[in-house]
Structure formats: structure tokens, C-alpha cells
Symmetry: C2
Subunit: 400 residues, 2 copies
């Protein structure tokens, strides 16, 4: 087991009607002027923004609103939020939405609390030293940003999607009412479930000695999400399933499922960032589309790890590790297909040119300056190979 | 699933040599004068107190030391600590030890930060409104106090063992080096493992609708501790096993394994508090000694819950819930015996008189003012019955 730090200070307030507690929670943080940050019009149409603002008013807290955050949240919106916060002397950013809105709120928090260009932190030119306090009212179970130290922003100038991870941006509180996710379209629900599982799977596939408690928690989480994502296809307003998935979203990305490991592989997330940056697809679908090709490309580096996954998640009885590993990859792809997720770029509706593949591979490797992943080190040529596997229409099922 | 709050802000620094980071961690908290609180001479003899104090010195932090905390930590020591902190203007209490030392440190923290008699908080006469910041360097994996909101103190005047739970006392940081637990005697290790499992089992046995992710995490934790407690009987210096158990100790009692439940039963803890108060036995052994009798007394209130425990922890295949429940209770007792833990008061070396039983039952029920437990409400008569079952030498194995 590796040495590790674990720090998940976010106060979780989970359950029905909890959004009404937002004002109290903001006040508890000592804030007096809040930016209510959100995405599309549905948050307004549903009355959620009104309920949240009412809750702020009741505590005598001033607020400004800024909507318009889109999936793969944009740097331009972040800059707009930073300017607004500075103008209105905002001291707390409240994200009402999913991962994109929370990530955008975190970026605004960095931008307001530090001098200079906020993109520097995402381009790894500088490290932020402060962040405005952030809170979240979660409306989509997916990104886990409500408890994570992560924020991912897309710079429209060059289509670069980059992350910045520090404890400074961890939400002070997260309000999680599973009922708020009832109206999500199935595709978005399933993309969320994939993202949730992938946050744990990225950590689970690692090169360190196994950590049994962490593995057990991870396996419980993956199986729970798998089961309830299927229920939600038929019963989108099943409270229990929405709740299981929502709580899993937070636990999957608050570092719990990585304790004692080497941190995990994370190549799929990096590979997907480039797909998302170039084609603006839903993050979860992009992850599902690249996972199988990645898994087949790397599993021989540690077949016993993939075999454990196959046995403990899918109850695959095969005793040979390599065979079990492959059976597990196929079972995972079967699961993806059963919930309408793509298992390759073709199914994602992308037909990338060789030029586009090379461009994504170059960007993923920071033009040759880094590799991603730990099971195999993925540089530009390896990334291109994985993209090609995922993009090749001629490869039959279970062979990709 | 029930609505819930989850708040586990403790910064965990886990692994080899991490005690050397103590000074840095205290400084990060803005403290300038520390009470180093500990138990017996072994902490000095092992050099641990020296290493921790050295680490404080290197950061220029002043400190006082106060040792002598005993298992079932005493109110008199707490009062001594409060007086010392006030005299020396201490602003941070650093517990170097296990649950007893951390609980004592929390009580000192309450006492210094509030006016009046600290025992009031434990006697439920008042609620504390503040607490000095607390940190921990853990030397025994058991109580989970390093991440919990709990502190249990014994008032020598009357032998009352009482708890006070608030978020105020949650440790700011917890340094966890599994190597520090290598030298624990086997009995103490096993008592710790029992306590760890019981913190999850108390939550697992509840009357609320099942929470799948929480159950899955709980089952993973119990199975992990069970496996590694057995390994530690033969290999007390197995780092991996010490580490699994130590991390489980924190996760078992930081509320993670109760999320979405009704909070759990907790009758065994309350029943054991009185055993500990009267006979001064090790807490874990007391829990093991009372669990089987409690389980047999209550399982018919919800056999399906005990059956799930039996099937998922012990892989018991019995399809009838009541039969599976009983088989699970027996399997748990077998496990306890296999690691040298008692399964009744007799095996714990206690031969309680009927008067003592009645006194414990009276105290447990606050002299008729409360019941404990949720699976069955346990007042004084029910508590006496459970104590009697556990105390009766004539009951054969597996019938208690």
C-alpha cells in the first residue's frame, strides 16, 4: 500500500428538499454576497433557481446570477464570471448544476482570488494560491466535482480542454437532492453513470499493490451504479436509484476509491478530453467510447488486475487471468451497450480522419511533452493507435 | 433511503514515517502552543513522543506534555488537562495514542473552549458551542475517534461512561502510520479489530430501507478487517494488514458506513459502556462479549437484515431468512473465538451478580429515562435480560 493523503472536507447535505437549506449553508460559511452560477434555462424553468435564491434572501444574503454554462465549460464564461464577481464584490460562488457548472464556478473562484490570467492554472504555467469559497446545489450525478479537487475548462482558442486540481477549490458544502435529477434525459443519465464508474475505474486500474479495502469499496460502487443505471432506463423517477447514483457520484471522485494506490491510470480521461475538445461530445459517452480500445491496448501490462475486475464485478469464473481479463472487457462493453452508451468512436457518431486522430494524439501528449496512464505509458503514437482502434469501423465487436 | 448529512473534514496523512509531518500539520492549522497528550510510558519508550516533539520544535511550536491517559479515559485526567491548557495558554491539543487519548483530548478541547463543568456535556445537561482544535497521531487502530465526532469519558464518581458527539471536536488532521501499531499485544489488536467492525455493524443493523452503496462499503470493510485480524494473529508486523485495519478504523466511524440509514442500532455500544464502566474491561472485548446475546435477542425484529449480513459476510447459502440469520450470528461468534475474543461475559472473565446486572441495566437506561437500540427498543428490563443471557454459564454454545 502506498502512503496517501485523504481530504474530503465538503459538508454533504443529502436528500429530499435539501435545496431549501442553501441559504443557511451559505450563511454558515460567513459569506455575504453570492454569485449564483448555472447552466441552461431548465434550472430557471424548473423553479430551482428561484427556490435557491429565495433561500438566500431568507438569510439576508445578496446575490447575482450568471447562467449560460455549457457542457465542456468555456473559458470565456469563466472570464465573464470573474469580471462580474470583481465588479459586485462577490465573496462566494454557488454552483447550481452539474459538473460543468461546478467546474466553471471553481475556475471563477480561482480567477477572482488570484492575480493574472486564470488560464495559466489550467495550462500548468502557475499554481493557484487561493480560491473563493465554492458551494454546490447538484442537479446532475456525474462529474463528482461537488466533492473533488478537480476543475476542467475548455479554452475555445485551440479547443484545449485542461484540468486544474487543488484542495483550494473543494466545495464547502454540496446540497444533493436526487429528485432534481428525475427530469434528466436518459442519455444524460447514462453518460453520468459512465462518468461516475470511470472515476473509480481510472483509480482501480493501477500498477500499485492492491489495497483491499479500497478495492472492495470501488467494486461495491461500480456494481451499485451499474445496477441502478439499468433501473433508471425504465424508471427515471425511482428515488432510490437516483439517490444511489448521486451518492456514488461524490464518493467516486472524492479520492476515497484511490486511497493507498498509485493514483490510478487516468489515460481514458485524458484521451477523452481531446475527443471532447475536438467534437464536443458528452464526456461520459466519450469515456465509454474510448475505454474498450484503451483496455485492450493495455491489459497485458497487468492482466491480473483486469481479471480481478472481471471476477468481482461480473462474476466471471475463468481462472486464466488473460482470458478473464478479456471476458471482463467484453462484459463491460456489453453493459455499455445495454444502457445505450457507445463502445467506440463509430457508435459515438464520429468518423475521425487520420489528421484529426493525430491532432488529438498530439494534444493529449502536450505535443510530445508528456505521457498519460500508468498501466502503459501513452504518448502521442500510442494515443493515436488507441484512437484508431476506437475509430475503425471494420473491427468486429469484441475484437477492438 | 433517509436524508443524511455527511461531514468528514479530517485531513488524513497515512503511511510510513508520517509522524514526522506532525509539526508541519500543526503549523498549517495556525496553532502556536500545543498540548501533547498521551497514554502510557510506551509512547515515550518507543521514542514516538520524542519524534513528535522534535517535529513541533522544528516548526518553532511551543508545547507541553501530559501523559497518563488510561483505557476508558477518566474525567479527572481531562480536568487536569483543562487546567494545564488554561495555565499555559494552549491553543491546540495533539493526541498521540489511540481512541482513549483522542477522546480525552477532545474532552479537554471542550473544557477549555467553554465555560462551566465539562462533564455537563457528557451528562447531556448542556451542549458545547466550541472546542479547541484537535489533531491526532494514531497508535492504535480501533476507536475511529481520529475521524469521528465522538468522545467517550468515564466519570470515576459513579463509574458513569458517557459520550458527547458534535462536529466541533472532529480532528483537524490525523497522522496514521501503521508501523506504530506493530508492537501492540495481540489481545489489544483483536479488541481494536472488533471495535472497528462493530462501528460498522452498529450502523448496518438498522430499521431503515437498505442503502445499497452504504451496505456494500460496510460489507467490504467488515470482510477486510476480519481477514486481516486473522493474519495479524500470526504476523503482527505485516504492514499491509496493519494498514488495512488502520484505514478501516477511520472509515468505520467517520459516518461513511451509516449514510442514508436511520443511524443504526448502537445498543451494543451502550450495553458495553456499562460493562466497561463497572468492570473496566477492554471496550472491544466487551462488545464481542455482548454482541451474540444482543443479536439473538433482537434478530427476529428484522431477520432479513441479519440474513443479508450472513449471506454477504459469511457466504451462507441458507434461503430461509431466520435460519440464515442464526447461522450468521453463529459464524460471527466463531470468528470472535478464532481471534481470541469472548462471545459472552463468562469468556470475558466476568461473573456478574444479579445486582450488578440490574445496576448496569439501570445505568444503561438512564434509570428508566431512555431506551437504546432501534431494532428493538432496549430499556432496563431488556438490557438486564441481554446481560443475563451473556452472563449465564449454563447456556451452551450457539444457544445464547
Amino acid at each position: 500500500m502506498n502512503n496517501f493523503n485523504y481530504y474530503a472536507p465538503t459538508k454533504v447535505v443529502f436528500g429530499k428538499d435539501t435545496e431549501k437549506e442553501t441559504g443557511r449553508l451559505v450563511k454558515e460559511q460567513g459569506a455575504s454576497s453570492v454569485l449564483v452560477h448555472f447552466g441552461g434555462k431548465s434550472a430557471i424553468a424548473s423553479g430551482l433557481i428561484d427556490r435557491v435564491c429565495q433561500s438566500l434572501k431568507e438569510e439576508g444574503i445578496a446575490y447575482e446570477t450568471l447562467g449560460g454554462v455549457v457542457p465542456n465549460p468555456r473559458l470565456s464564461k469563466v472570464r465573464e464570471g470573474i469580471a462580474l464577481c470583481r465588479e459586485k464584490k462577490i465573496d462566494f460562488v454557488l454552483a447550481v448544476g452539474g459538473g460543468s457548472v461546478i467546474d466553471s464556478a471553481k475556475a471563477i473562484g480561482y480567477g477572482v482570488a488570484n492575480e493574472g490570467d486564470v488560464w495559466d492554472f489550467y495550462a500548468k504555467k502557475r499554481v493557484p494560491t487561493a480560491c473563493l469559497p465554492i458551494g454546490a446545489v447538484l442537479t446532475i450525478a456525474a462529474a463528482g466535482s461537488e466533492m473533488s479537487n478537480s476543475s476542467v475548462i475548455t479554452n475555445e482558442d485551440g479547443g484545449l480542454k485542461r484540468g486544474c486540481n487543488t484542495d483550494l477549490c473543494r466545495c464547502r458544502f454540496a446540497v444533493m437532492n436526487p429528485e432534481l435529477t428525475y427530469t434528466l434525459p436518459d442519455y444524460q443519465t447514462q453518460c453520468g453513470c459512465t462518468d461516475i464508474m470511470m472515476h473509480t475505474m481510472e483509480r482501480y486500474f493501477n500498477m500499485s499493490e492492491n489495497m483491499e479495502l479500497t478495492d472492495g469499496i470501488s467494486e461495491a460502487l461500480i456494481k451499485t451504479v451499474m445496477k441502478h443505471s439499468k433501473i433508471l432506463k425504465e424508471h427515471p423517477d425511482c428515488y432510490e436509484s437516483r439517490a444511489e447514483v448521486m451518492w456514488a457520484s461524490s464518493l467516486s471522485h472524492n479520492d476515497l476509491t484511490g486511497c493507498g494506490t498509485d493514483g490510478g491510470d487516468w489515460a481514458c480521461h485524458q484521451l477523452e478530453h481531446e475527443i471532447g475538445g475536438m467534437f464536443d461530445v458528452a464526456h461520459g459517452a466519450g469515456l465509454a467510447a474510448v475505454w474498450g480500445s484503451w483496455a485492450r491496448y493495455v491489459y497485458k501490462a497487468r492482466p491480473e488486475r483486469f481479471a480481478k475486475f472481471a471476477r468481482n464485478i461480473f462474476n466471471i469464473q475463468e481462472t486464466d487471468d488473460e482470458k478473464a481479463a478479456v471476458a471482463g472487457i467484453e462484459a463491460m462493453e456489453d453493459y455499455y451497450r445495454s444502457v445505450g452508451m457507445p463502445t467506440n468512436l463509430c457508435e459515438l457518431g464520429i468518423d475521425a480522419t487520420e489528421e484529426q486522430i493525430k491532432e488529438m494524439a498530439d494534444k493529449c501528449s502536450f505535443y510530445g511533452k508528456r505521457t498519460v496512464g500508468v498501466m502503459k505509458k501513452i504518448g502521442a503514437p500510442e494515443a493515436a493507435e488507441i484512437y484508431r482502434m476506437s475509430n475503425d469501423k471494420s473491427i468486429p465487436l469484441y475484437s477492438r
